[in-house]
Structure formats: structure tokens, C-alpha cells
Amino acid sequence: MTSASARSPEEIDSISPEEFAKLCEFFYRRTGIVFSEKKRYFVVRRVQERIATTRSSSFRDYFGLLRFQASGEEFQQLVNLLTVNETYFFREDYQFEALTRGMLPELASARKPGDRLKIWSLPCSTGEEPYSIAMQVLENWPQCDQYEIQIFASDIDSRVLGDAVRGVYGERSLQRVGPALRAKYFEKIKADEYRLRDEIRESVDFSTVNVIDRVQMAAFRGFDVIFCRNLLIYFDDLGRRETVETLFECLAPGGFICLGHSENMSRMSSLFRPRKFADTIVHQKPTDAE
């Protein structure tokens, strides 16, 4: 099935338009991610790389491996190469303000001290988002000590999750973290390398999750706040609708969902109530919703 000698990606036959379309369709069905024609070079280049590494004899051979391999390992490898993982600490931080000034106080007002509050960062990429949430809560929500706050973080890309667990970041990620927070929560290990302190690192649970896999998603229920930012931009309209409906099911009644600033959808209103906190709109699942 596979040829013995390794070839470099340049030696791999180029991928025909039909093959590209087939691959995109397959990737879309499995991940929700849509590749436009503009992304063609990006995709083809990485697929050729995988064809070379797996020593597949042709695109067809590789595509078979991708689809039918029982372990799903090759699919995971390709996912890791084709996702866009750009993120940084305190990105769109007005939503974190909204969390500690509006959402958490409101949620807490309906709970008893000692009760649990569950927050989910999906997708979390290399971890900057859930760790920002952790720091924001510790620094800016005085009632924090009265509740049990759990932060979950998930992504489809297993490689970024490894980085997230390691918790080592460079200047590029940390641009928006001021000196006081750096001193308190990070340890400088090298020029341009900062390690997040264990206190924060260990407060987040990371897991591999594909948001369009409803069987996987069924295990995640009863969340009070979900951050789902800069994911839906990679999906088509229908995929966005379906994802938002899935997240609706993951929320507890009265729970909140925060989307990226360019991701709000006209159809949100049939499921959620718009709520304004700290100058930003978030979406609340009605308290009487099942």
C-alpha cells in the first residue's frame, strides 16, 4: 500500500482540483472547518507533507489512510497541521471584564456559598484564554473564595493542548500581561520564555474535544459560562448554527455564552437572550429553558 522510499513533499504529485475538493468535503464533515480556494496552497502543502511522512504512494493511498485508519491517528495529525491556533493572553479582554463584573456576580447571587461554578474555554488553543480567565477571576472577582470555580478548556488540536499543559509562553503571547501580573503568575526561565506558575496551570483541566462531535459533546453539561471565541469564523453558516445549538445544550439554564466580536449571529435571538455587561453583549440561555 505504501512505497518504501521516502520522498520530500516537493516530489509528491500535485493534488488535482477534484482531490482537493474531496479532501475539503471530508475535512468539513469531520471538523466543521471550511477551506476557501484562497487556502488551497496552505492545505495542499501540508497534505503533501503528510503524504511524504506517511510514505503513501499517492493522494488516494493517503486519503484511504486518513479515512479508514482505526486509531484515527493520521486524521489527528492532519487536524493539528490545518487548524489556525493564533491566540494570546487577555484577547478581547472586555469579555473577561464582563465575566467578573456581570456574569459571575449574577450567577453567584442565585447560589449558596460553596456552590460550584463551571466555566469552559472552547476552543482554548495553547491555553492563553483559560489561563487569562483564571487570572481574571483571582484578581478581579472578590467573591471568588466563596465558590468552587472550575475551569475546563478544550480544543480539537492535540498538539496545542500539549503546549497548554506545559504553560510556557513567549513575549508575543504575553504582550497584554502587565508587569504586576507577570511577576505574580509567571517565572522567567529564559529570554522570551516565561513559565506559568503551577497554581494557575493546575487550575485548568484540558481535554481534546471536537465541537461538532455530538457524542463527545454530550459529556459536557451544566456549564455556567462558555467562551467560544474565534472558532465559528472557520465554519459555514449552517455549521455555526449547529454549533451554537450544541453549546446551548451544554449550558445550564441561565448560563452565558461569549462569542468572538465578529461572530454574533442574527439567529442567536431565537435561543438566547442578549445581555449587556461592561459594554459588551453576551448571550444568556433563558433561566426557564430545558
Binding site: 465558590y147 475551569i151 481535554s207 463527545q216 445549538e245 431565537s270 435561543l271 430545558e290
Partner: protein
């Protein structure tokens, strides 16, 4: 208290060994009538790859009062897009519930290819309200024939409000070929001043003035 280590959620154990358990379709359809909204919603979403469920899903849409279930019904039907889905959604245009009508139009706009073959029948409907909704549908339907259908309305429809709706729509999507028919329309309804006004506006928009 404060931040506590979250307990790992295991999503892997839930997967049935057979990816799609061959649960009988009739059993899955029966769940559409469950008294529990969350269960109905789940049933609807589970049918997103089941073309045979279209008639039952469309029937449910007419009964369904819960908004989240209704939203899921539309999403599932858009995923299943087919001539059968279009045929199942069109009767909603005759209902009194304006929200439901508008949501049906939104959903139909997401399946232009499938809607195409139904347009002429819809524009020939005996009920002028349905014809007006058909024009609303055409206004943002990504179908190359939309301007031609609208010109047909302007040329032949006997109802002044239907023609006026088509005129407004042509102002947005029409090309130079609509100008002649629009002028004829103004003559046909010469006694209705608002028609002359709408035609004038539309022609100006088309000519880019």
C-alpha cells in the same frame, strides 16, 4: 475554595461501539412527540442525516411551540436540504404565524438550487399574500434566475400589491432588462400613483442615478 482543579470529563467512554446504533427510524420519529422539550430537541438534531424524516420534521414544525426546538427543526431541515424539504416548508407560508413564515423564508433562502423548480408555481399561487411572500423569498435568494422571475411578475401579475413588491425587489436585484417591463407596469396601473412612484425609484436605482 476559589479556583479548584476541575475534574476530568471523560467524553470517550460514551461512544457506542457501533457508531450509528441502528435504532429504528419509527422509534426516533416517535421521540419528536415527547412531552419533554429537551428530548424533542435531541430527537430533531439526531435526524440531521435522515432524509426519510423530512415529512415528520415538517409536520412537527407546525405544532412546535418551544423556540429552541423550532430553531433546531429549521437547522436540521437546512442540513437535509432537498426538494422534499422545500415542499415541506412551502405550506408554512400560508400560516398566520408571521415568525414561522419568516423563519421558513430564511430557511428556503439557504437552499436556492432546491427552491428554483418551485418558484413558478409559487408565483402563480391563487393567494396574493403567498405571491408577496414568494417575492420576499426571491429578494435575497442566491439564484441566477431571480431577476427574470421578478420581471415575469411585473409583466403579468394582476394584483397591484404583488407588482409593487416585485418592483421594490427589482430596484435591488434588477438589471437594464427590467426597465421596459417596469415602464409597461406603470402604464398598466396608471391610476395608482404609488406604482408610478415605485417604478420611477426602481428605474433610477437600476440606472445607478
Amino acid at each position: 475554595m476559589g479556583l479548584v482543579k476541575a475534574v476530568r470529563i471523560d467524553s470517550s467512554g460514551e461512544r457506542p461501539v457501533q457508531p450509528s446504533e441502528p435504532l429504528d427510524l419509527s422509534m426516533r420519529l416517535a421521540a419528536l412527540d415527547s412531552p419533554d422539550a429537551a428530548e424533542r430537541r435531541r430527537a430533531v438534531r439526531d435526524l440531521a442525516a435522515e432524509p426519510d424524516a423530512v415529512p415528520a420534521l415538517c409536520a412537527r414544525l407546525i405544532e412546535e411551540r418551544n423556540l429552541s426546538v423550532r430553531t433546531a427543526l429549521f437547522t436540521t431541515l437546512i442540513r437535509l436540504r432537498s426538494p422534499a424539504v422545500v415542499a415541506g416548508l412551502l405550506p408554512l407560508l400560508r400560516l398566520d404565524d408571521a415568525n414561522l413564515r419568516n423563519e421558513a423564508i430564511d430557511a428556503l433562502q439557504d437552499m436556492p438550487e432546491e427552491v428554483g423548480p418551485f418558484v413558478e408555481t409559487l408565483l402563480g399561487d391563487h393567494d396574493s399574500d403567498v405571491r408577496i411572500l414568494a417575492i420576499q423569498l426571491l429578494s435575497t435568494l442566491a439564484h441566477p434566475d431571480a431577476p427574470r422571475w421578478l420581471v415575469g411578475v411585473v409583466d403579468t401579475d394582476s394584483h397591484v400589491n404583488v407588482c409593487a413588491a416585485a418592483t421594490d425587489c427589482l430596484a435591488e436585484v434588477g438589471g437594464p432588462e427590467a426597465i421596459g417591463p417596469l415602464r409597461r407596469l406603470a402604464r398598466r396601473f396608471a391610476e395608482e400613483r404609488f406604482v408610478a412612484f415605485a417604478v420611477d425609484m426602481a428605474i433610477r436605482r437600476i440606472e445607478g442615478r
